[in-house]
């Protein structure tokens, strides 16, 4: 008679209770795996941002105010040896949308010469970079608009701007970046934008932000202070922050969905621990006499402890698998990308299946199983055989 046999028999003893506990476990775990997948994706995003060592400079009053493009030269002059500042790229918000589409793209006009250096994580090949420099209407896009509109490299596309002066420009796609973290972007050349603005007598030569590629974290800090100090008390007063702080402001504003996901994950763990604990307590109470018999015929107390706690672990893992597997399959078939297109909120495209999340969910389930089973197992350990054999359930 092996341990596994005893455990399986125990679980089969009351199949209804095992089934109910497993299902009650499964639903929260399904939600948990989705929430954790999202949280993991957000953490990866912020790590990816931190790795890129980028500093964002914007107007202090509000992001929508413009900075003169000439300030780029002033900022470059702060570090003539290029020990801290590798490259600086000015960006202007175009806010372009495909006519009659709901999806909000992150659509920016960027300085063509330094863009490939500052945004090196887009992984543009040498040919694509050459094409970007050569073609006046070049555009670099992410995977979300490419899949939503079926665009390929070489396509000519038109976007209508949603900010004054409401230009409608045509672009040629030179690169579709595979980077999953930059899925919603649409970059094009700012010199093309400025030419078009000049043609309609609108003011040109302005940017919303400067993105600076730095050489190290200390470089980011020192440049941040120097730039803000240089432009303080001028009409173009700036606020510089690193990329994660910049993005955090936007994330907070979209209803703070990451915080919702984190809260969901915590509540789930709490509920699931209670359910497992309840089931184990009920099961233990019924079997006090049986465990006492085990002890009486010679099983050491520690072994009885292991029997009870392993049973709890198995129940927890069984329920978790029941929840995690369907949820993973669902996420695989319907990733958050679809939701993002439906609601036009790009952040939700980070909701997709990730193996660390699945493993993490199972680990948490195992942990909950151990914790929930600990108290009954401990009581089993300390059972006084003589009294317990007389116990009437």
């Amino acid at each position: 008679m092996t341990l596994t046999y005893v455990l399986m028999q125990n679980l089969k003893r009351n199949p209804l209770r095992t089934a109910l506990t497993a299902i009650a476990f499964a639903f929260p775990m399904a939600v948990f795996v989705a929430a954790i997948a999202f949280v993991v994706a957000m953490v990866r995003l912020s790590q990816a941002n931190a790795q890129e060592l980028r500093l964002v400079v914007r107007h202090k009053a509000t992001l929508t105010n413009y900075l003169p493009e000439g300030n780029r030269r002033k900022i470059e002059a702060l570090d003539p040896d290029r020990t801290r500042l590798k490259a600086i790229c000015g960006m202007r918000w175009f806010g372009g949308r495909v006519p009659d589409s709901k999806i909000a793209l992150t659509n920016l006009a960027v300085d063509p010469d330094t863009f490939p250096i500052v945004y090196s994580d887009l992984a543009m090949t040498e040919d694509e970079t050459a094409l970007w420099h050569r073609e006046r209407r070049a555009a670099v896009i992410g995977s979300l608009p490419a899949s939503a509109y079926g665009w390929k490299v070489g396509d000519r596309v038109t976007l209508n701007s949603t900010v004054p002066p409401y230009l409608s420009l045509e672009f040629q796609i030179v690169c579709i970046s595979p980077n999953p973290v930059r899925a919603n972007f649409f970059f094009f050349r700012r010199d093309y934008l400025d030419e078009s603005l000049v043609q309609i007598n609108a003011p040109s030569g302005r940017v919303n932000t400067f993105w600076i590629k730095c050489t190290s974290v200390e470089a980011i800090r020192s440049l941040q202070q120097q730039i803000d100090a240089m432009f303080a008390n001028s009409p173009d007063e700036t606020k510089s922050e690193d990329e994660n702080a910049f993005v955090a402001g936007f994330i907070q504003a979209t209803g703070d969905i990451p915080a919702l996901m984190q809260a969901m994950a915590i509540v789930v763990v709490f509920i699931v621990a209670l359910i497992a604990g309840n089931a184990m307590m009920m099961s233990f109470r019924e079997r006090v006499r049986e465990l006492a018999v085990f002890k009486a015929i010679g099983f050491p107390s520690l072994r009885v402890f292991f029997i009870v706690i392993t049973e709890s672990l198995m129940l927890a893992l069984f329920g978790a698998m029941l929840g995690v597997v369907p949820a993973s399959v669902l996420l695989l078939i319907f990733p958050g990308q679809e939701l993002a297109k439906l609601f036009g909120v790009p952040i939700i495209n980070q909701l997709r299946l990730s193996w660390p999340a699945v493993v993490g969910a199972l680990a948490i389930a195992a942990f909950v199983g151990l914790v929930a089973g600990f108290w009954p197992a401990w009581q089993a350990l300390r059972l006084k055989t003589v009294d317990a054999i007389r116990h009437v359930a």
């Binding site: 009650a24 509000t62 929508t64 209670l274 359910i275 309840n278 609601f343």
Partner: protein, 394 residues
């Protein structure tokens, strides 16, 4: 005669651990349910305040929101020819308000200024107070000579630097200091998350020569649909919508948030149902002799069924009360202020989440339903017990 309530209560607490654990599960579900309902309520009532059917918002053709719309002054003047326009009783002037939308970045108070939010600033004339009758001044209004602003109450509560006497740095170069002269309330509507300034002053600070949008009031019996058609027509060529329609379209992120929350809640409710079923099954199994004895002395099947349902409902209600308490404590301690971004407007809508008795009653009703559904199967099993064999069980 049915089983007394005190019997059920005492039965529940014979198995203290099981009962308490199940109550806690229900409490957690109710806490989340109450929070979600209060949140949805807060946003809906905020948007409902903006649902004035006699107020029309006019934007440039193709603009998705006020913040990216531009209306030149001569096109604005064409709006005076609208036939259903209301007029001021004393002066005879049309109730037509030109407005300019700009933004200012202010730190959020709820995370001690770690993140900043884009707060909408609306440049208005005196007409605006007549066109938007729900706006009530709480204190002085902005002066027309000095650079002053008035801040909405919701904005003042959630963002830093909007107390009376503070100075806001606005303008094209961010160097024009505007003093906060007072606050205003808007019955919790979206405009309460804004800052209002005098239109000509704002236009000069931001070097703008055109308005962003216009609001107009329809006269008594005025037809909204006809007016909107007239505005879209060849004479004026702008786009228009009633205020209610406009704000409904801006709530995309909110819909997504609610959808995610409801999926989560549904999963939790199913888990609670199964947890309650589990507990009730073990109760029934532990009390077979007792149930058989009750049957013998004359309690019918129906009474036994009702008895177990009552126990389950008692469990759920106790969990519900604790859960509502938890939710109220959470709101009081962690804060009940939230703001959401409109992807189109690029500005935030601030609101407070409040727990009122109606929400608590709704949550308790929902959780009672969960208790009833969960106990259905175990209670039926108890009712169908074979009396004679059960009496002999150890």
């Amino acid at each position: 005669m049915s089983l007394p309530l005190s019997y059920h209560l005492r039965c529940l607490f014979v198995r203290k651990t099981s009962t308490i654990l199940t109550i806690l599960v229900v409490a957690a579900v109710v806490a989340v349910l109450a929070w979600m309902t209060a949140f949805a309520q807060a946003v809906k009532s905020s948007l409902a305040v903006a649902g004035d059917e006699r107020k029309i918002i006019v934007l440039r053709q193709g603009a998705t929101a006020e913040s990216n719309s531009v209306i030149p002054v001569d096109e604005f003047n064409k709006l005076r020819q609208l036939t259903h326009l209301a007029t001021d009783a004393s002066t005879g002037e049309a109730l037509l308000s030109p407005e300019l939308m700009v933004q200012v970045a202010l730190p959020r108070l709820r995370d001690a200024g770690r993140t900043t939010a884009n707060v909408a600033v609306r440049g208005v004339t005196e007409k605006a107070f007549q066109v938007h009758p729900k706006i009530k001044l709480l204190g002085s209004s902005f002066s027309k000579g000095q650079p002053e602003v008035i801040a909405g109450l919701a904005a003042a509560k959630q963002f830093a630097g909007l107390n009376v006497g503070d100075t806001l740095h606005m303008g094209y170069g961010g160097d024009r200091g505007y003093r906060v002269a007072g606050h205003f309330s808007a019955q919790g509507g979206p405009m309460e998350s804004e800052i209002w300034a005098y239109l000509p002053s704002l236009m000069s600070s931001y070097a703008r020569t055109m308005y962003s949008s216009a609001y107009l009031r329809l006269r008594e019996g005025g037809d909204a649909a006809a007016t909107i058609e007239q505005i879209r027509g060849p004479a004026i060529q702008l786009s228009a919508a009633t205020e209610a329609q406009y704000w409904k379209e801006q709530s995309g992120t909110f819909q997504l948030y609610l959808l995610l929350a409801y999926i989560f809640l549904a999963a939790m409710c199913v888990a609670a149902i199964f947890a309650i079923a589990n507990t009730m099954f073990s109760f029934v199994a532990g009390r077979t002799r007792e149930i058989a004895m009750l049957r013998t002395i004359g309690f019918g099947r129906g009474k036994i069924l009702a008895g177990f349902m009552t126990e389950s409902v008692l469990l759920s209600l106790m969990g519900g009360v604790i859960g509502s308490g938890l939710c109220a404590a959470w709101l009081a301690l962690v804060g009940n202020k939230k703001d959401m971004f409109g992807a189109n407007t690029f500005t935030t809508l601030a609101f407070e989440i409040k727990l009122n008795p109606l929400i608590i009653i709704q949550s308790l009703l929902a959780v009672t339903l969960v208790g009833v559904v969960g106990a259905l199967w175990p209670a039926t099993r108890a009712a169908r017990l074979q009396v004679v064999s059960a009496l002999r069980e150890p």
